[in-house]
């Protein structure tokens, strides 16, 4: 305790110096918090987009369908999926079709859904911005941007054609989900209509499962142990398109960079500690001659470095979390994301990005304190360990 008090006194003795080096630590701490919050927020926005809008937390389909996603590779009978973490399941039938409005024609993937079942695991039914969600066969709900492109409005008829049949469906709603794939390409029809359009031989192409957040990959793995041969489950990360690479790539790129930032901050802390130790060598010599072990003194130096950087860390955490709180509650990156969605409408990017705010970031940022202490032990600490008290006491 006295060691701590002593170290604390020494840190406060040079307030300006401490304040200056704290500034470095504050900056690095804020950078660490913000970048982790941003990266995790980005990851979460992707998981949310794919789990709740574009795909589902877990999807089960026949192995052949994963290779060739054509309705002919769908389910002739629906498989039973049992896992305690599966909270809901709904069949879907996706098929390629020609969408023909009175004015335009375009190809796209139509998703046949059970309107009520879809509500149990997808957010799309709750993002209808005009009209309403599906309730019966003969209806269609479109992504808003797709509807604009096809020039079709709520209450109008859209002809959906496949090689096996054609249906005129009444557009009952437009979805504005803020997720590129849904807004630019979403076509939702009743499962029965999709079955008819696919030739009526399959019931569904895949089964969408709702599982708790964070358990997607685990449940998919567990299911793959139990599912009959020829079926395979995929978790949301596997379902994600190429955009996952951007997220993983960003992490691989920025995390080492943050490590470098922390190292530089620790170097700054240690150079200050170094000066302060050199100034006090005589003081250390006295302490050593009074019986304090050099290791204890070196520990004190390390503690001083830790305390000084800890001060910066505290302030940095305060500022960093305040910044994260703001960016996690305000759509600061909205304009940037909207531009990205326009550029890459089929990547599954969301128009909103809110940073994550997790306590563990404090732990990551605290590494700068540990690193400072360690470096202080290695460099200024060594000065103390190599000290010859008699020389200093003689005033040499």
């Amino acid at each position: 305790m006295s060691l701590l008090r002593l170290a604390w006194r020494n840190v406060l003795r040079q307030r300006r110096r401490t304040a200056l080096l704290s500034l470095v630590v504050v900056y690095v701490t804020v950078a660490v918090l913000f970048l982790f919050g941003f990266l995790d927020g980005y990851g979460e926005s992707l998981v949310e987009a794919y789990a709740q809008y574009v795909e589902a937390p877990v999807v089960v389909a026949r192995e052949v369908w994963w290779q060739d996603p054509d309705p002919e590779n769908g389910f002739r009978e629906l498989p039973a999926v049992a896992h305690p973490l599966v909270q809901a399941a709904t069949p879907r039938l996706s098929l390629y079709a020609l969408l023909r409005s009175p004015y335009r024609v375009q190809g796209g993937v139509v998703l046949g859904v059970d309107p009520e079942g879809e509500k149990t695991l997808s957010r799309v039914p709750f993002k209808v911005s005009q009209g309403r969600w599906l309730s019966a066969p003969g209806e269609a709900v479109l992504g808003q941007r797709l509807a604009e492109r096809l020039d079709v409005r709520v209450g109008e008829r859209l002809v959906v054609e496949t090689g096996k049949g054609a249906l005129g469906l009444l557009v009952v709603g437009l979805v504005r989900a803020g997720v590129g794939n849904v807004d630019f390409g979403g076509v939702y029809v009743h499962l029965e209509d999709a079955r008819r359009l696919s030739g009526g031989r399959v019931l569904a192409t895949h089964l969408a499962l709702k599982v708790p957040r964070g358990k997607e990959e685990g449940v998919a793995q567990a299911l793959n142990q139990a599912l009959p041969e020829g079926l395979r489950a995929q978790g949301v990360w596997e379902l994600m398109g190429p955009i996952r690479a951007d997220y993983e790539g960003s992490r691989l790129f920025y995390v080492p960079l943050l490590g470098l930032f922390m190292l530089l901050a620790a170097v700054a802390v240690v150079s200050t500690t170094y000066v302060s130790v050199r100034e006090r060598l005589r003081e250390f010599a006295v302490a050593e001659s009074l019986g304090l072990s050099p290791f204890r003194l070196a520990a004190q130096v390390a503690l001083e470095a830790a305390l000084a950087s800890g001060l910066g860390l505290l302030l940095g955490l305060l500022l960093g979390y305040a910044l994260l709180w703001y960016t996690s509650t305000h759509d600061v990156f909205g304009p940037l994301m909207r531009l990205s969605v326009e550029l890459l409408p089929e990547s599954g990017l969301s128009e909103h990005l809110y940073t994550a705010l997790r306590p563990v970031y404090a732990l990551y940022a605290a590494m700068v304190v540990g690193l400072s202490a360690l470096l202080a032990l290695l460099f200024p600490g060594r000065l103390v360990l190599a000290l010859e008290p008699t020389r200093y006491l003689k005033g040499e």
């Binding site: 950078a31 190429p242 690479a245 951007d246 100034e279």
Partner: protein, 398 residues
């Protein structure tokens, strides 16, 4: 003064080297990042340019027009400067049929030069050499379950052409973007014209030689020169033809300046620390200098010189190292990321091999930041030093 400053720096070589190392590292990292980012950005835009040509000629108001009849035009003769080439392209929607399967796709008819440009996208097979031969996006081929040597039929009724045309798949294209690949059918121009619009094109692509990627001025001049010859048509530069991408371009410099600023802010704070420590260690010395008659302003200048010398020397070291690495990068490099990530990056228009680019602008930006950091970091310690009272300072005990 300069010599004094230089000597002072080497009185604490450890600290000077560490701080200078940080400065050099920051300059080095900034240059490397700028080179890498510019390389990635260029690759992104080069892909656009390659697809569009330097100038694109289309019918006026093409954005609002949907049907081929109003989009297709008989190509006029254009007075082009020497070295410029013009290629006609026909593009239109069609249903590609193969057995029981069909997909909506965009059929693109290209002249031989245009077809030759597809060579580096060729995943399998060869380029079309005769009428009735086609290149199919690999994803489209998978969806249709066809391969090399198979026949597909393009069905596009309602236009001016035959409305139906059979093609033998001679090559598969691996486009960076899978969603484009899933709707790509590339055929000889004459075939596409027979199918969609005999004798007409939907756009003319003008390509110029020896132009830099962002060299837009000659394009504007050529556009103006062509204008009188384009009745009912409009010429656009490749950037104008891609308005969303054009919107990003002006943001690039700002984003990069901010990015580099993040590094320099850290470097600046570390430098500030070092300068302050060096002041603290030499308070008595500064007091002595003041007592000997050195004015506050001269003391301040000494601190500034020390800072600038430290930053200047090590920034040059960082610059040298950065330029060396840049020379390597300029020859082509792969991002140090796992292969699967690099492959997926292609979806966003980023090739696996990039070529670093550093222009004078980027070097000046980095050096400007370095000098600015040196000046700003010295401001406070310099001010403190200039205000030292000689008597108090000489009595200073840390």
């Amino acid at each position: 003064m300069l010599r004094l400053a230089w000597r002072n720096l080497w009185r604490t070589p450890g600290r000077s080297l560490t701080t200078g190392g940080v400065v050099a590292l920051v300059v080095f990292l900034s240059l490397v990042f700028l080179s890498v980012y510019a390389g990635a950005f260029d690759a992104f835009f080069r892909l656009l340019l390659e697809r569009t040509g330097h100038l694109v000629v289309r019918v006026e108001g093409y954005e609002e027009k949907e049907d081929l009849e109003s989009l297709a035009f008989a190509p006029p003769a254009l007075p082009l400067p020497s070295g410029a080439r013009v290629e006609g392209v026909v593009e239109g929607g069609c249903l590609v049929l193969a057995g029981e399967r069909s997909r909506y796709a965009v059929v693109t008819g290209l002249e031989p030069a245009g077809l030759a440009r597809q060579k580096n996208l060729l995943k399998a097979g060869r380029l079309p050499e005769a009428p009735g031969e086609a290149l199919l996006g690999e994803a489209l081929a998978q969806a249709l379950r066809v391969g090399l040597g198979d026949e597909v039929v393009a069905y596009a009724p309602g236009g001016l052409g035959l409305g139906v045309y059979a093609f033998r798949v001679v090559g598969l294209l691996d486009l960076p973007e899978t969603h484009l690949e899933a709707r790509t059918l590339v055929v000889p121009l004459a075939d596409a014209q027979a199918l969609l619009a005999p004798g007409r094109v939907t756009r003319l692509e003008v390509r110029l030689e020896g132009l830099g990627l962002y060299d837009l001025k000659p394009l504007e001049e050529l556009k103006a020169a062509l204008k009188p010859h384009l009745q009912g048509l409009v010429a656009e530069t490749w950037l104008e033809a891609n308005p969303i991408y054009a919107a990003i371009l002006p943001l690039y410099d700002t984003v990069m300046a901010l990015y580099v600023g993040v590094f320099f802010l850290l470097g600046g704070l570390i430098l500030l620390n070092a300068l302050y420590l060096s002041l603290v260690e030499r308070v008595r010395e500064f007091g002595l200098l003041a007592a000997l008659g050195l004015t506050g302003r001269r003391v301040m200048a000494l601190v500034f010189w020390e800072s600038l010398l430290l930053v200047g020397v090590f920034a040059l070291v960082g610059l040298g190292a950065g330029l060396l690495v840049h020379l390597e990068l300029a020859d082509g490099f792969r991002l140090p990321l796992p292969q699967w990530i690099l492959e997926q990056y292609r979806e966003f228009g980023l090739p696996e091999v990039l070529y670093g680019r550093l222009s004078l602008k980027e070097i000046l930006l980095t050096l400007g930041y370095a000098v600015g950091t040196g000046l700003l970091a010295a401001l406070w310690p310099g001010w403190l030093a200039s205000r030292l009272e000689p008597v108090e300072a000489m009595r200073y005990v840390p």
